[in-house]
Amino acid sequence: MKFVAVTSCPTGIAHTYMAAEALEQAARDAGHEIQVETQGAGGLQEIPQATIDAADAVIFAADVEVRGRDRFAGKPTVTAPVKKAINGAAGLVAEAVEAAQSGTVSAPAAPGGGSRGLATKVDHDAGVGTRVRQWLMTGVSYMIPFVAAGGILIAFGFMLARFAGGSDGAIEVTKIPIADLIKHFDATSGMQWAALLFQVGVAAFGFLVPALAGFIAFAIADRPGIAPGFVGGALAGTVGAGFLGGIVAGFLGGFVALWVSRWRVPKAVSSIMPVVLIPLVATLITGGLMIVVLGRPLSWVTDKLTAGLDNMSGGSMIVLGVVLGLMMAFDMGGPVNKVAYTFATTGLTAAAIASHGTQLTVMAAVMAAGMTPPLGLALATVLRKDLFSEPERENGKAAWLLGASFITEGAIPFAAADPLRVIPSIMVGSGVTGGLVAAFGSELAAPHGGIWVTPLINGIPGYLLAIVVGTVVTSGLVVMAKSVRRTEILDAVDAPTGGVHAGHTVAA
């Protein structure tokens, strides 16, 4: 067979070339042809595109991003750390033979270089924990553009509305329907522009959970996973399961697709397997399960939580504030969050506003608690860069604006990538903020808008202080929890397996 390979390492003077030599030797010994591109410090000699096109499979033995990955798009691909090529070149060549025979095609390169191989198939030898993390990270990395684009558009919409529409602008802007913009968009009206930004942002947010689920399934099952994953993710939204439901949908879609793809089918059917049969069957099963199995328990939980909050509203305001804070951060847009948010907004009746009822304090607590998760995580990415992957650090920059605008979803990429460490941390931070706002007795009569509705708040200093404290608590806890993980990251990189190298792409 004919192979092409790329080797690269952080320093670019040793491993890159050792790996190249080892691969050339192993391929020759096994009777194959190979051409290796050494992306090291000794100058780059690109493999001619014709050679790549003629190759049966591609081997990436790379610890830093492969330059020009898109040149290899659509080829059966084997990915491994550079050390594996040095110590186990023969094994890699054998894997490449297998990939060529089974036609395992990697994903086309993601634009912008496809963060360190997230786009490629996950290594089969990796431990379960590592692979789960790789699947989650793949979903997260494709979700982030939607979070960033949608969140920033919505935030800009609020911001513009604040200036064009006065202190109520951030509330009014959400009431302008798309139909209005279609019929008579007025380019001279600031509010119309604000509504346009807001609506496009909302549309982008609609893809947040489907993209997460779709690309988790893609990481698990390759292309056949995409349709069941996306559809399952969209249905997670429909049944109100939020991003945690999206993660469930992603895993479900991926494994169902994987299972169906292993069916033994008659030859006549096998040609339509990948394009028609797998997506059809896997999508039906995944989507059906999301509606039938997940839908009912979720609505039951929602009812119980709502009833619980109603019971609590007679008791201590501070306890209620803490509980609402915890709920806001738990699933960020999922059922628990929605119950807390709905509880707060339904209290915003004309009577309550006129009489300065406690409902206004509940609203203030909920909004403040919904701001601290993205803010705290953004702070954490600044304080301890090394604990976060490159896409997470990028997302951290947008998270400042999203958090400030009460777009809690800005924290989802972090939470989806590492739920067990991130979710408890942001819950505590939001609980603290919710409790503090209730203790200070700040009041707010706006259902959204973040800092853009600050003028509408009674008791601004206490409100802002509560947010700052919650932000600091959140980032402190995240950093602590992630520090425990640190050893795990190194393990994942050291292990002689391929796949994602989170946090390992520093120097080139």
């Binding site: 003077i13 040793a14 491993h15 890159t16 030599e21 080892a22 410090a41 100058g43 040095i86 110590n87």
Partner: protein, 159 residues
């Protein structure tokens, strides 16, 4: 022998070979320090501490021990004047983090950090030779520093 470091120096000479690393080092850190000091004494590395810091930073990313008893601590550093190889041999073995045990031969590979392309190709050639069992065996069995220098000259620089 070309002693003028500004014109195409050898990658290694006899002063950059230590066949008894055990006499001065029992662990990775001490071994690296010993090899960096040799390069400094030969005028090839300007600042021992800077070079140590750069090598350690690279080690921290991922240990450079390789199967077959090799350690290749390396760095591109502003403290390096010319591409340099320092060779150390240990009978007891020094742990460089390889999975199959300690390293018996250690190469410190030092490259200037401003260089690109041409003058680093000789280091690339060396790295490629290191993969070959026969080359490693010959180095382990070398009788004196001159043999090591000759071996590298034959296998890498004159090819």
């Amino acid at each position: 022998m070309n002693d003028d470091l500004t014109t195409a120096p050898r990658l290694i000479d006899a002063t950059l070979v230590d066949l008894d690393l055990d006499a001065s080092a029992s662990d990775k850190d001490a071994a690296i320090r010993r090899l960096v000091t040799l390069a400094h004494d030969a005028g090839r590395v300007t600042d021992v501490e800077q070079m140590l810091a750069d090598v350690r930073a690279r080690e921290a990313q991922m240990p450079t021990g390789l199967e077959g008893g090799i350690g290749i601590p390396h760095a591109r550093s502003s403290a390096v004047r010319v591409p340099t190889l320092v060779f150390g041999r240990s009978t007891a073995g020094i742990d460089f983090g390889a999975e199959d045990g300690p390293a018996r031969i250690v190469f410190l590979i030092a490259a200037p950090d401003d260089g690109e392309g041409e003058h680093l190709t000789v280091l690339a050639a060396l790295a490629r030779r290191l993969v070959h069992e026969s080359f490693r065996e010959a180095l382990i069995n070398a009788g004196d520093p001159k043999d090591v220098v000759e071996l590298i000259k034959d296998e890498v620089e004159n090819r």
